[in-house]
């Protein structure tokens, strides 16, 4: 391996970087897409009580209380996905309740239910609630997506997760912008 070949390697890397940048910019996901992606990817880092699933291969239900576009996006992202032996199923839930059968609930509010009411409805249940609110006063789920320095991050309410009987992976906790204990 000579020096010229290494130089060529570097040159190729630079060229690729310049070519790739505009391409990546064009492909850059929108904040909504990023959020949907996040919600879709939370499941592997959470452990539910075994009793939550009726059968070993029972589906993991992701309830969505948001506009149809978001629901559709999530549906698309989770297609064919499973967590452990549980296939992921997206269910639109305009009105969330203790008997909704959700393992994850994205709560953005609906004409039928405010986010606060929705959260209250599953409070203490083994449901990972996810909200997306930047306001200090707004109702927040166990996982709350926030924007930090132009990047989507999340805050985790570990205390509430424990109350709900959920175990959140330390890997996820490590990535959180903040953890409430």
């Amino acid at each position: 391996m000579g020096t010229d070949s290494r130089l060529r390697g570097w040159a190729a890397a630079f060229a690729l970087a310049f070519v790739a940048l505009p391409a990546q910019a064009a492909d850059a996901p929108t904040p909504v897409e990023v959020k949907a992606d996040y919600v879709a990817k939370l499941a592997p880092f959470v452990v539910w009580p075994a009793a939550v699933f009726a059968a070993p291969a029972a589906p993991l239900v992701l309830c969505v209380q948001a506009d149809d576009a978001f629901a559709a996006l999530l549906d698309k992202l989770t297609t064919g996905q499973s967590v452990g032996a549980h296939p992921v199923v997206v269910r639109k839930t305009p009105r969330l309740g203790a008997d909704s059968g959700c393992q994850i609930a994205y709560v953005a509010g609906s004409p039928a239910q405010t986010p606060a009411a929705a959260l209250k409805a599953v409070d203490g249940q083994p449901v990972l609630t996810v909200t997306d609110t930047d306001s200090d006063t707004g109702a927040k789920g166990i996982v709350n997506l926030v924007a930090v320095d132009g990047r989507v991050r999340f805050v985790i309410d570990a205390a509430r997760a424990t109350q709900s009987g959920l175990t959140i992976s330390s890997k996820l906790l490590a990535l959180a912008a903040d953890v409430k204990r």
């Binding site: 390697g9 570097w10 592997p44 880092f45 499973s82 452990g84 032996a85 999340f154 890997k171 990535l175």
Partner: protein, 550 residues
Amino acid sequence: MLVAASISLAAREEAIHSQQALQQAEAQTDVLAGSVSAALAFNDKPAMHQYLAALMRNPQVAAAGIYGPQGRQLAVQTHLGADPPPEVLIPGDTMRTLGRVVVARPVIEQGQALGTAYLQTTPDTLAGFAARHTALVILTGLALLLLSFVTRAASRLARANARLSEEMKARAAAEEAFRQSQKLEALGQLTGGIAHDFNNLLQAIYGAFELVLGKAEDPKTVRRWARNGLEAAERGASLTRQLLAFSRQQKLETKPVVVAEALQRMGDLLARTLGPNVQLVFDLDTDRLTAMSDPTQIELAVMNLAVNARDAMPGGGQLTVRTRRVRIEGDAVLPPGWYLELQVADTGEGMAPHVMDRAFDPFFTTKALGKGTGLGLAQVYGVARQAGGDARIGDNPGGGAAVTLLLREAPAPAEAAAVSGPAAAPTTAAAPATVLLVDDDDAVRGVVRGGLEMRGFTVLDASSGEAALTMTADVAPQIAVIDYAMPGMDGAETAERLRQRLPRLPIILASGHADTAAVERALGGSATVLRKPFDINALSDAVTRLLAAA
């Protein structure tokens, strides 16, 4: 073989090492894959870089990266000199390129494939390789060095051994020669005294014959002086016998020796060695105490001690030779048991302590230059050690020095055959027979002829072997008495030639030679050997016996 073994060992070690390196790289990649999953899932590049940076602290890692689900590069860190990680990674098996390991492991969380972790190890440097094998190389080198050293040492040892056995042979020969020279030296010391003694004896014999001549007509006087002369001659004969026995060259032969008897046999020689001023006292055991030794060596030891004692008593004194049985217990040198103590004590000036300490050292002497070799007491010590004992020097309670030999007692030999002395009475008138007498010495021939004729034999005498052969052409004698040592044809040859003519002729060979056995061997056992000097009775007895047997 050693080299082959070490190479195979190195190869094995190398295989183990590369296997270990592979496992290590895989494990590290697995750790990265396991820990980076969340960061990958949420596309948290700062977190990815943190994980990568932590991994890159390991100097074995040249490059590491995180790739998305479609193999797209998300985060990469490299050290200088590493191959740049691929832009797009197709997750595959572990690869191994020249000296470096590249591992790509899928990042999976709860069955969800999130991406790929990539790791590239630093190439195995020559220095690293060398470091790993230096010890083995050094050890192998050392072993080879040691082996060559041992081989060389072994061959050197073999050579040294050969040289040593050569030297031992030469030394044994030298020791043999040395023992003989010791005896000759002792004889040399004696010569003066012995010559003087012989002169005295000859004086007695000479005087006796003069008186016999002068008083030839008086039978009583003649008989008395003849007896005196005979006694003196007998003393001389005994003396030469001892000298010959002493100087006899023979191999050192260890056998049971009845020490008291050996000492008694050398009594005359001892007395003459000591001279008239020193009184010799024998205080010998009567139990036939026996030691394993060489009789000549025992005699030489006592002779050496006697010479020393004589020199220590220039004004005269007493030498006591004592033997007795002693029991030794708790001795520093000797094992407990019964020993024969042979002590030679003088009444001389004694020995200073510093002399006593070194007395047994070879070449240590207090005598003037040229007077002694310093080997006398060393020989005494050697004899004692050889007989399983020890030699010690102490003070003689009566003043003077005492040397004690402690010889381990041995079982007594079978009773020695009685030594036949001169016949008590002359044998009278044998059957008339013709004796052929061959001797080159006219005097001896004359005396022997007279003796034989006195016993009634007819004597034909010849002064040489040739003359004897001529003589027997006409007359056939019944027996021949031949001197062994003659110029020209010697006794053995004369006997052989006579036998060719007269095969059944009995032959007596008279020999002054010390080793009668050698003479007998030379004759093939076909003749009787008579040791000179002999008295006429012994000769006529032998003649009569042989004629009777014929």
